[in-house]
Each structure stands twice: as structure tokens, then as C-alpha cells.
């Protein structure tokens, strides 16, 4: 249907949401950009001059450590998600329809339940008098103090983000014909070698997509590190929350946010690019 002439109906249809997004997405971010260029003032929140100080302070040791820690934990989370998620993705992709439906339900359901609830569950498990320690004591072992540490944060993040790794990989593997697996085995490859030489290269786009997705979600996480980590070893998300709602350092929070947005946007576009390339490549098979 080709239109766009006298009565631009498309404008009436897409207009409302476009306007809505403009007001509630673009303008707030422009607002943030504007805040980031003003200096912070404890009494008036911000002063009318313009400055780049907020961006310069990101290179202070405190913030360098902050970003370093965030990026590092993001990397660890992504790596663990990949290792745990790949086999899951493979099994789901090759499962019979009924089992696949069950598996997908069990995978997606926790995603949709609020992150707070899952974190709460982990606190019950990992707390000082929690499940894990009860079990360890029952076995005659020493209790461990896992909660409120980086380890706990990684556990929580992995738990929440594994599905985001599994779904793109699963979609990728589903596009690989099972006859390729059988052909490889027929030519002498054990399952492991077949996986490394056939499945892995052909599902790489899905893996890249998943990794970029999980990574960008991890570095901008807040609830999990806030409840399962500690204030000293905080992540960028916690810092932003703190600066906005506690210390009211809105300019500082603004510059941090924009930096994070840029990093995340770059990653997400990378993921989009990878999946588009995958679509083109798979036309060959």
C-alpha cells in the first residue's frame, strides 16, 4: 500500500507514539546532557555556568576504579553466562517441541518476575543463616560468607541474565540443520569435535549477540548489586542512584549516565549488526 500524498495517514498512526517518545525519551536525555555540563552545587544542585568538570572527574581514581570494577564484573558475568547458557541453548534448540515449550517456560518465567524477588531468594540462600550455610553445617563443613560480596553480585547477575544469553544462541542453533551434525559424526567427529567445528562457528552470531546483550545489561544493573553487593565495592548503577536520589549530585549523575548510555548503545548496535550479518550468512545454508 503506497501512500504519503494528500492524507498522510501514517502520520496520524505513528504520530502519537513518536510525540510521546520525543517528550519522554529524547527530552529527558537532552535534559541530562544539559545537567552534565553544569557544575554541581550542594546547595543549589547546579550552577548556571558551563563546564566539563563532570566528565573530567570520571578520570579520577574513584571513578576509574568504579568503571573498572563494573566492566570487570560485567565480563565475568558474561563469560559465566556463556559457559552455562550454551549447553542449555543447544539442548533447547534440539529438544522435542513439548520439552522445548517446558524448557522455554522455565527459562522465561524467572525473567518476567521482578528482579527483587529473585534477589530476595538468593539472600535467603546465601545469607549467614541461609540455606547454603545450613546445608554446609549439616555436612559438617564451615559456613561461608558469600553475601554482600562481588561473588554474590556475580551469582545474582548470572542468575538473572542467563536467559538473555540462551535465547539468541538457541535461535542461531535452530537454524543449523540437524543433518549437518549427523554428517559431521558420520565423517568421524565425536560430539564434542562436531560441536566445536560445526555448531560453534555457525552459531557464533547468536553467541556474539547474547554476549553483547548480557554485557550491556550487566554493566547497567542496579538492584542486584545494591542488594547483594556492598557499598564499598559498588557498581556504576549504584553510584548513579546514589548521586541522583541521595547526594543530589545531578550533574555528576548525568555525566555518568551519558557515559554509560554511550557504552551500552555501542554494544547494542554491535549485537544488532551481528544478528543482521547472521541472517545474511545463513541464507547460504
Amino acid at each position: 500500500m503506497d501512500h504519503g500524498g494528500a492524507r498522510p495517514i501514517w502520520a496520524f498512526l505513528t504520530g502519537p507514539y513518536a510525540l510521546f517518545l520525543f517528550v519522554l525519551l529524547l527530552v529527558p536525555f537532552a535534559n541530562i546532557a544539559m545537567y552534565s555540563l553544569h557544575p554541581y552545587s550542594p546547595t543549589k544542585v547546579f550552577l548556571p555556568e558551563l563546564t566539563f568538570d563532570n566528565y573530567r572527574k570520571i578520570f579520577d581514581l574513584y571513578y576509574v576504579r568504579l568503571f573498572g570494577r563494573t566492566l570487570r564484573l560485567g565480563l565475568i558475568t558474561t563469560a559465566v553466562c556463556a559457559v552455562l547458557g550454551y549447553p542449555l541453548a543447544y539442548c533447547l534448540a534440539r529438544a522435542r517441541p513439548r520439552w522445548q515449550a517446558v524448557g522455554l517456560f522455565l527459562l522465561i518465567m524467572p525473567l518476567m518476575v521482578s528482579a527483587v524477588i529473585r534477589v530476595f531468594g538468593w539472600i535467603v540462600i546465601l545469607g549467614r543463616k541461609g540455606l547454603l550455610n545450613q546445608a554446609l553445617l549439616g555436612l559438617g563443613l564451615e559456613p561461608v560468607k558469600l553475601l554482600y560480596s562481588e561473588t554474590a553480585v556475580v551469582i545474582g547477575l548470572v542468575n538473572i541474565f542467563v536467559p538473555f544469553m540462551v535465547l539468541p544462541i538457541m535461535a542461531s542453533i535452530e537454524r543449523i540443520s540437524p543433518s549437518l551434525e549427523e554428517a559431521a559424526q558420520n565423517l568421524g567427529a565425536s560430539w564434542y569435535r562436531m560441536f566445536g567445528r560445526v555448531i560453534l562457528p555457525l552459531s557464533l552470531p547468536g553467541l556474539i549477540s547474547g554476549c553483547l546483550l548480557v554485557y550491556s545489561l550487566s554493566i547497567s544493573a542496579f538492584v542486584t548489586p545494591a542488594l547483594m553487593g556492598n557499598s564499598r565495592e559498588r557498581l556504576v548503577g549504584q553510584q548513579i542512584y546514589d548521586e541522583v536520589l541521595v547526594s543530589f549530585n545531578w550533574p555528576g549523575a548525568a555525566s555518568l549516565s551519558l557515559t554509560l548510555v554511550l557504552v551500552t548503545a555501542a554494544l547494542m548496535f554491535g549485537a544488532l549488526f551481528a544478528t543482521r550479518r547472521a541472517g545474511r550468512r545463513e541464507k547460504a545454508s
Binding site: 543433518s179 559431521a184 568421524g188 547460504a284
Partner: protein, 364 residues
């Protein structure tokens, strides 16, 4: 020295559920033989193939390759090559890498791999294509890569899963001939699965006809066509006319069969016991019917039957005649397009001449 047995399948059974099962199936494939598993879809031929390749496990029975037990080995340790129906070429690898795949797994040296791959690509006539990707090849070329990929590993037997069904008609005939020449040249024991009886007849040294999970008959193409063991085989292979009758006389000179409509036909002398019951099906191939003008005399060992032409189908090379017998039966005859034959027209009265030797009696 008689050729040795390369593959022995004994009582192979695969039970999917109490109602659905394949087997027991037993057959032997000799060294250098081209052996086909032929049958309609669902007959069990693909299941048998996958059991030999190791992608299905046997519920019962055994498979032996050159005397050694095969069915207890995992699929990647069996010395059988499999050419898949959709070729299953690795899209992310070049033709060279596809063919070299199995060799690389065996950790052969680069030089040797290069050597073997180029030799086998020459063999299948793809010498210049080594650096192309599967997506850049035609269907026929892709299939040759699939064959080369299995051949280069020099397996004991090569198996084909309906390899020509994805090709268009003319290409199929061409590939069929190439396949046969290749196999004859290499002398490689081959097992071929197909539902196309023309393919099976053209390619095979021996054919096993399957139906509903069982083998109906094993034999050379001629044996299967000329002496089908059952009505199913008779009707699956080639075209057929089937009449119903009962044996009324048995002698050394021949057997006489009578139909319910009063037709009396002289057939070959059946050795005692070949057809036990008196109720039989009579098989008559359309091309064995001689159509003549009325008025001839029946020779000994010949049957002469009156008929009326119901319909003539002109097929260029042949003419197919639909004939109605006095008793109401409908027969089909296939005659070569000759000057005389072109004169036949519907509603003409004719006489059909059938040799006693061309009537085959089958169990009902």
C-alpha cells in the same frame, strides 16, 4: 573366488512403539555390489540406513561389517560413508574444507590432505571448485561434493539416502549415470535408498523391496521385475495387470487358470509348491501383450483372448491401449508406435496374444 560379504544385517528390528516398528530385516551385501533398498515412504528403508550409520539404535538384531560387529559402535567410529538427501554440506567451509573435514579429524599431514582432496575432486569432476562455498554451487555440484567428502575417507561401504530426489528430471538421469559409472570404476560397495523404482532398476546389482517394515523380496532387477514374489512387488515395480483366478489344472505341460468370468489361460508349468493355494493373482505386464486383428489362430503355449479397445493414449514412443475383455476385465497394453499400431482406435475389436511364459502366478 566368490565375492565376500561386506555387510550382514541380521534380524534388524527397530521398535518405535507397540504399533510402529521396522523389521525384522535381514540381508547381505557383497563386496563391490550396488545394493538398493527400495520401497514407498514409511517402509523402513531410511530407518535401516540410519541404523547402519548409527543414528538409530537397534531394538533387536545385529549388523556386521566384514565380520565385525558394527551396531555397538558410536556413529563417528563406523567405517561407513553417508551421502545425505540434502547433502548436508557445511555452509561455513569451502568445498576443499568440506572434503577435507574427515581427513583433518584424523590428523593427517597437510600435504597428504591436499593430495587426497584434489584427487577425489578430480574424480567427481569438480577440480576447479575447491575454493568455492556450497552456496555458490548448483544442486548437482553440491551433491558431488557430498560424495567426494565421504569417498575421500575410503570407507568400506558408501550409503546414499535418496540423493537424486532434490534434482530436476533431466539432471537426475544424468547424475544417475554418473553415479553408476563412478561406482563401477571404484568398485565401492554401495547401499542406495530410494522410492524411485526406475532408479533402483537402472543402478543396482541387487534390490531389496521393502513394505511396512519388512523385506518383500531381494533379487537382481531382472528377477524382481520378471519374477516378483508377491502382488506388492509386482505392482510397485513397473506397470502391471492383475487378474484373479484359480488353478484348475496342473500338469507337466503347464498350469491352467480360470477366472470367475470364464477365461481359461495357459500358464507356465509351476513347480509344485510354488503357489500352494488354488486361489491366485495372475500378473501380466502391459508390454507383453501382442495386439492383433481378430481371426488369428492360437499356437501351443499361447493364449488368444478377444477384447475391445476402450481408449488409446498416444505417448510418442509408445501407445497405451485400454482394453475391455468379454468378461468385463480391463487390461492395459503397451505397444510400440508402429504404422500398424497407429491404426488402433477405440471400440475396435481385437485379439490379444499372450505367451504362457508371460503369465506369472502369485499368491492371493
Amino acid at each position: 573366488m566368490p565375492p565376500s560379504i561386506e555387510l550382514e544385517v541380521r534380524a534388524l528390528t527397530k521398535r518405535y512403539s507397540p504399533q510402529v516398528s521396522v523389521g525384522p530385516i535381514s540381508f547381505e551385501v557383497q563386496e563391490g555390489e550396488f545394493f538398493s533398498l527400495l520401497g514407498p515412504s514409511g517402509c523402513g528403508k531410511t530407518t535401516t540406513l540410519r541404523c547402519i550409520a548409527g543414528f538409530e539404535t537397534l531394538t533387536e538384531g545385529s549388523i556386521r561389517l566384514h565380520g565385525e560387529r558394527l551396531d555397538d559402535k558410536p556413529p563417528h567410529r563406523r567405517d561407513v560413508g553417508l551421502v545425505f538427501q540434502n547433502y548436508a554440506l557445511f555452509p561455513h567451509l569451502t568445498v576443499f574444507d568440506n572434503v577435507a573435514f574427515g581427513l583433518r579429524l584424523r590428523r593427517l599431514g597437510k600435504a597428504e590432505i591436499g593430495d587426497r582432496v584434489s584427487r577425489v575432486l578430480q574424480l567427481v569432476d569438480l577440480a576447479g571448485m575447491a575454493t568455492r562455498f556450497p552456496a555458490q554451487l548448483s544442486g548437482g555440484q553440491q551433491q558431488r561434493v557430498a560424495i567426494a567428502r565421504s569417498l575421500v575417507l575410503e570407507p568400506r561401504i558408501l550409503m546414499f539416502d535418496e540423493p537424486l530426489s532434490n534434482l530436476d528430471f533431466k539432471l537426475r538421469i544424468q547424475m544417475r549415470e554418473e553415479l553408476r559409472n563412478l561406482q563401477r570404476r571404484l568398485g565401492k560397495t554401495s547401499i542406495y535408498v530410494t522410492h524411485d523404482q526406475t532408479e533402483a532398476l537402472a543402478l543396482s546389482d541387487r534390490i531389496a523391496v521393502l513394505s511396512h517394515g519388512r523385506i518383500e523380496q531381494i533379487g537382481t532387477p531382472a528377477e524382481i521385475y520378471e519374477h516378483p514374489a508377491s502382488a506388492f512387488v509386482a505392482e510397485f515395480i513397473g506397470s502391471s495387470n492383475m487378474l484373479r483366478g484359480r488353478i484348475v489344472e496342473r500338469s507337466e505341460a503347464g498350469t491352467i487358470v480360470a477366472t470367475a468370468t470364464g477365461l481359461r489361460l495357459h500358464c507356465r508349468p509351476e513347480p509344485e509348491g510354488e503357489v500352494e493355494t488354488a486361489e491366485v493373482s495372475i500378473l501380466l505386464r502391459p508390454e507383453r501383450i501382442l495386439v492383433e486383428a481378430p481371426g488369428g489362430r492360437a499356437m501351443p503355449g499361447q493364449n488368444r483372448v478377444s477384447a475391445r479397445i476402450a481408449d488409446v493414449t498416444y505417448l510418442g514412443e509408445d501407445l497405451h491401449l485400454s482394453l475391455d475383455l468379454v468378461g468385463g476385465e480391463r487390461l492395459r497394453a503397451s505397444v510400440k508406435n508402429s504404422n500398424a499400431a497407429r491404426g488402433w482406435a477405440p471400440s475396435q475389436s481385437v485379439e490379444l496374444v499372450v505367451d504362457a511364459a508371460d503369465l506369472r502366478l502369485l499368491r492371493r
